[in-house]
Symmetry: none
DNA sequence: CAATAATCGAGACGGTACGTCACGTCTTCTT
DNA sequence: AAGAAGACGTGACGTACCGTCTCGATTATTG
């Protein structure tokens, strides 16, 4: 997924001897990654050629292949290296507001030029498990950890059931966004996000769990 | 998207004159479509080559290109031609049961060998609007029409609000399934479907819309 | 050495069925061969790239590789297809004059732009037996057959021993020319040819050195 | 052609200051040269890569390039450094025996594993004047000087004309050997050498063909 | 029945990008 | 300063498919 070798520049912890030979060019690495993102945003995954990436980065094709085994690994790495520092969860005192605000940010990104890259990653990920894995680990997981915290605050405040299935709840909140983002069958607006939050979170409210249909 | 020409085999309305020349070979058409599905299921979209399809179908490459403008149109057609006749919505008298049963069928398909094809379509669709369009029109839309009927029955029975946003509701039900199917971050089980239905539909229940948080 | 397949265009003798598919393009073939000769004459063997040949011939690289397995086969074929129709042996009534005149023609070719090609062939032939084989069979052999005839006429006229070793004699005549041509340690002039003929042929006379022509 | 710099290891005349820094590694030099010969004998010129030479000699690539400007210079040097100390001309009292014996030795080398190297050199020399130049200067010229002496002894003994063209004569003797060696159209046997000597030297006799040695 | 016309399988065509290899240069640390 | 190591930009390699094109053969309608 990542670099084929971490032999260079590793001075983590002990006094590692640097491996001999010319060290990897950090400049080339960065240039390749940013060229990848640029071209990916312009033309989509299937039009992205390593030849073009190398040319645009003023780098030899072999240098790309030396460090990334294939196109999928390259874009996964490029995406991960650029992951937005934004998308934080606020703490407003209301689960629904917290979630809604973060989800609006996500939608904003999906609708921006970066959204092109995300959909390229998810598309490529359908035929390459490393790519989809990188998306999960580097993009999704960190945010989900924060989301857990947000939900937990809601539980403490009594806004959510104590025994709520957080994964189910979060997938119910984000799933529709991903669905509209990927299938493009309907609008992906801030208003949609709000109504989605209302619908799903109202089902997760503890006060009185409405009886399931047919049981009343 | 479909065939480039409908000159042959058109028997729509009365006694049309068949155009001269050798008619299109139905056998070749079927052989191409089934070869496409087979290879798509084996290797994914990006590994699918028209060269291989033609060879596997014992057909000239030009015959493929004569009827389908590109790979995307081909797999869209192949997929559509094979769309399961199943996936019907039952009418059990309960919205939740109706939806739950259909969604379970969908999940079953997603987890079967055909799921590979669906994910290939959706993945390819991220860089080809024709493909994702074909998926929407031929796979999703017909089912959604049926789903509208199912929801409408629920409304009549009083199980759902009269003013429920059906698109929002359906996306909330199916979105999490697509999300888990595409991102593969969590299990896609029948139990998940049930709990998902419970969560979402309980939020769409009319009886008493719980006040939105902070408004009570 | 030659084309990988002779499946096309063979109507020699019987009524052969032509193999199916688009027939080989004669125009492409000729364009490739002449481009090869041109570039070979300009830059020598090691600078000759198939990429350049294809580009110069306005032909796809694959078309070159489809018919010639490697560079050596290509230049062997190109050389053979261009073999000079000249280099005939005259019949003046004197072995020495006959040989001398033909050898002068050969030297003239060696010193011309075509000589560059010949030396490239012989050079490449040192690491590829097919190339040197093509040179022997297509260039050398036909001329040697004519040379035998010339020598035989000399024997009949009494200019040469009856039991002369014709191969030895011919190698003695041509070897020095090839040597100077390839090692370039000394001039390759018409005068050199004449004195070479005199030296060698005087040694092939049965009993007494025949006087040089025109001196008797 | 040779080393780019003679800064090191010069002990010519007196107490020269050795230039500072680490002296050139004689071991590396020898290892490179012998690796070159080994690989050249195995695979021919065009398959010989500097990369492989360096790897086989356990030497950095830059070390090769520091001392030899290109592949041609390298193999020329490698060849020269290994030039057989043999190939001397005997002094038997007969030109023909002297020449014949030396030529037999040459043929023996041509037919040995070292012949592979010689033909690689001559082949490479067709597209690189430095290589063929090195062959002339280091291999051919020294022997030719000895050959002149041998011929001069023959003149003094009356075996050869006084005004014989020694270059023509030597090319007539060696040319056929090189021709058969390079074009491989006929056998290169000791017997061939003998008959070649007889043919050519009998033509170089001043007035009458001297009887073959041992027959007088 | 012959002529016309469009399809078929086959496969060569001019291209583009692939992923690999060697080139000759460079940058690092070690000797 | 030379050494081994090995990454660098460059460019040709030989391959795989692209989508187009010519073939002869086949199968229909039309005259």
């Amino acid at each position: 997924m990542r670099q084929k070798s971490a032999a260079h520049g590793n001075r983590g912890g002990g006094r590692r001897k640097r491996s001999p030979g010319r060290p990897r060019s950090e400049q080339a690495r960065l240039s390749i990654l940013s060229s990848t993102l640029k071209l990916l945003g312009e033309n989509g995954f299937s039009e992205l050629t390593i030849e073009a990436v190398a040319a645009h980065a003023s780098v030899g094709k072999a240098t790309v292949y030396r460090w990334w085994p294939n196109k999928a690994a390259l874009i996964a790495d490029a995406f991960a290296s650029s992951t937005t520092r934004k998308l934080h969860f606020p703490d407003t005192g209301s689960v629904r507001t917290d979630m809604s605000q973060q989800m609006r940010q996500l939608v904003k990104i999906f609708r921006s030029r970066r959204g092109r890259i995300v959909s390229a990653i998810l598309g490529a990920g359908q035929s390459d498990r490393d790519v989809i894995g990188a998306f999960r680990e580097r993009f999704m997981k960190p945010r989900r950890q924060e989301a857990y915290d947000t939900l937990r605050r809601g539980i403490l405040r009594g806004e959510l059931c104590e025994d709520v299935d957080m994964d189910l709840l979060l997938d119910s909140l984000y799933g529709p966004i991903y669905m509209r983002f990927l299938i493009r069958h309907d609008k992906l607006t801030p208003d949609f996000v709000d109504r989605l939050c209302e619908l799903v979170l109202s089902g997760a409210c503890p006060c009185r769990n409405l009886p399931t249909p047919g049981m009343s």
